[in-house]
């Protein structure tokens, strides 16, 4: 058992927000069939949003580009999905939420409380939704205020998900910590774009979007490494993790646990595979505890 901000996880792999997290049933499937130690929901906001027009996600040679545009049915409609997830997932369920300001964040969090999410993850980092996401997350004052506002209304752990699209991610991490965050999650997608040269059209319906998958792993490792140095609270690593080796690398950079998003493209059970791989690695190398590898790279000088 792994403990993460007080939650008990059977393994340190979590489903990342926005991936297979629209319905309670699919969250349960990722937990049961996929073997995730915990699942994070799609980011839920104050009002229903259909998101950007398609194409909303494309695979690249290296990684994926997406601009979903935070589609979500709003918190009142999501309650029934959360209820199902909480009932059947058998693992902690973390509600990812977003809003345009501290008040909206607090409203959504309170609105979802009846179904008792095990934690909240504040998405202040989506790179392609006007006025939401990274618009909030690149402003330390706003991040602190948003975090504090949610902390005020909930008594479960609050994680803050950070964007790498800033000059200094540790400044934003510090703001989250100052606001009372129990953990930070790094990283959301990296701003990116692809153009169809036959037509000249940007490929994504939203023109540009966020890069995820293999391409961003080195970026995520660096962010996690820097945040581990700068913060007291745990860092949850996400970005390009698709194997146990990637997960171990992220943990050595300082991640207390990892989230996996795009890699579900290849296989649903990537979570149990990574969990087993980490265990086997710890055993082969004689580490008594996963804690021995968390942040290990900081000691190797």
């Amino acid at each position: 058992m792994y403990t993460l901000t007080g939650l008990e996880l059977k393994n340190p792999t979590l489903l990342a927000a926005g991936v297979l997290g629209t319905t309670g049933a699919s969250l349960c499937r990722v937990a049961r069939e996929g073997g995730a130690g915990a699942v994070v929901t799609k980011s839920i906001g104050p009002v229903p949003k259909t998101g950007h027009p398609n194409p909303s996600m494309v695979r690249l040679d290296c990684g994926f580009l997406n601009a979903m545009g935070l589609p979500n049915p709003s918190y009142p409609a999501f309650l029934q999905e959360l209820e199902l997830a909480k009932k059947d997932a058998g693992v902690p369920v973390i509600a990812s939420i977003f809003g345009g300001n501290p008040g909206e964040f607090a409203e959504v969090a309170e609105g979802l409380l009846p179904e008792k999410p095990d934690a909240f993850e504040l998405n202040v980092s989506c790179p392609h939704a006007e006025g939401y996401g990274a618009a909030v997350g690149s402003n330390p004052c706003l991040v602190e205020a948003v975090t504090a506002a949610v902390k005020d209304v909930v008594d479960v752990p609050v994680w803050v998900k950070l964007t790498p699209n800033v000059s200094d991610i540790t400044a934003i991490g510090n703001a989250a910590e100052a606001g009372g965050a129990d953990a930070v999650v790094a990283i959301n997608t990296v701003k990116g774009m692809a153009i169809d040269i036959e037509s000249g059209y940007p490929v994504l319906g939203n023109r540009s979007g966020g890069l995820s998958g293999k391409a961003v792993k080195p970026v995520a490792v660096k962010c996690v490494y820097d945040l581990y140095t700068a913060l007291e609270i745990p860092v949850i690593g996400v970005g390009g993790v698709s194997s146990w080796e990637d997960a171990v690398e992220m943990m050595m950079a300082g991640a207390a646990a990892v989230q996996v998003g795009s890699a579900v493209y290849d296989r649903m059970d990537v979570f149990s595979e990574i969990g087993a791989g980490i265990e086997a690695f710890l055993q082969r190398k004689g580490y008594s505890d996963v804690k021995k590898i968390i942040g290990l790279a900081h000691e190797m000088v």
Partner: protein
Amino acid sequence: MLPLNVMTLPLNVSIERIVEESPLVRTFFFSHSFENMEPGQFVMVWIRGVDEVPMGLSRKNSITVQKVGEATSKLFELKEGDSFGLRGPFGKGFSLPAAGEKVLVIAGGVGAAPLSPYAEAAGDAGADVQTVLGARSAGDLLFEDRFSAVGALDVSTDDGSKGTKGFVTDVLRKLDVSAFDRIAVCGPEIMMVSVFRLLQEKDVLEKAEFSLHRYFKCGIGVCGACCIDPSGLRVCKDGPVFSGVQLLGSELGKYARDASGRRVKI
């Protein structure tokens, strides 16, 4: 060398021929052939500047489209020589029969699109293919020629302008469905639910496969927009073709989710 699959950025294809199948349905032959496609698989069709929507392959190199809204209307404005983007083929198709098997194909409306290459592939595999094809009226019947070329064809129309007056289920009731080794179904969801119930009554669900429609965003199994209850299966990746047994007790015919993820009654 043309790629067998286009799993990354959309391939640019040009329209080689447009066939008007019925007032609201056209077939678009395009300049690429998905040689290894499984009947029942779909492609994501990118109408640039508008939207990208899923369409079953009606042949290795064609889609057959019903005009229903923005993207399909824009597609209908395109002429031979114009181009669009294509990704795919994606998803799981219908399972092919072995030689000598008896196959029943049940197609409603534009559901005939992915079933026509299936009927042909089944025929090529040496199966004994029989089709029940339904539509609103005689002019809306799709691919009668392709289905009848590979086996017996029964037709139903809502208005009775051709074949049995009524629904495909009215034809089905007259058949001994238990005589078939495989049953492949595609059509509007209300039609598929009626067929589902009938096949369930006759206790042949385990032989049946249904091709579902749900709102697709990514189309590649990552975003979760298309998941169905209570299994959490992804229509775009685990489907769109599911066995009857997979759909037992499912949301089929009850509700679907819209682009925001809200449940909407069928």
